[in-house]
Symmetry: C3
Subunit: 88 residues, 3 copies
């Protein structure tokens, strides 16, 4: 299991969440703010099986809005190893 932490524009939140859940991914969203430009964003927590990481990244890639500003990307993503995943 890996935890994908994806930082996207808040205006992309609905489209990206919908695309991920439609492909049977699970998503938790947290409101966040960029440290430099101070704009509203969404930080998504997406726990995925190791073999589905690439698929989740591709869904992110094709559902975020292309950035129009130089140097400002559409998504910033950290992939972190999960030692244990538990639900009850």
């Amino acid at each position: 299991m890996k935890l994908i932490i994806a930082i996207v524009k808040d205006t992309d939140n609905d489209k990206v969440s919908h695309a991920l859940t439609s492909a049977d991914f699970r998503v938790t969203t947290v409101a966040s703010t960029g440290g430099f430009l101070r704009r509203g964003q969404t930080t998504m927590l997406i726990g995925v099986k190791d073999e589905r990481v690439e698929e989740a990244l591709n869904i992110l890639r094709s559902n975020v809005t292309r950035s129009t500003e130089p140097n400002v990307k559409s998504a910033t993503i950290f992939v972190i190893k999960v030692d244990d995943f538990i639900q009850f």
Copy 2:
């Protein structure tokens, strides 16, 4: 040190936080939203010594409200290894 990331219903936040801090755990809470049902939740960050992870999970397990909906769990939990823990 492990970081427990626990996603619980927002209505369980007070009871679970209180149970954890009463047992000498430290907790930070973040408001979050489910990607599918879009309900309010709390995402808890709980940094614990390796040997107390099980104890923290048991406190979570016995303080979340049983879910009444099929397939909807009471808590979703990621346990992640922490390379370094620092306070100043």
Copy 3:
């Protein structure tokens, strides 16, 4: 790449974010709450190259307000290994 998760007082957010971005670090901030005293805080996500972790920690150390209460620290920090960092 490491992900620094730093929990600071919300009143320190602006100064710390500014100090980090002025030193060419990238920062994402999330509003959070302490589980025990229930005060407003900021949880910062700071993805940094391995060789700049110490520098980021020093900037945090010298920009948080000294705590005046016994046992209450100015910053609580987790450093976590990042398997993969992607932007698009």
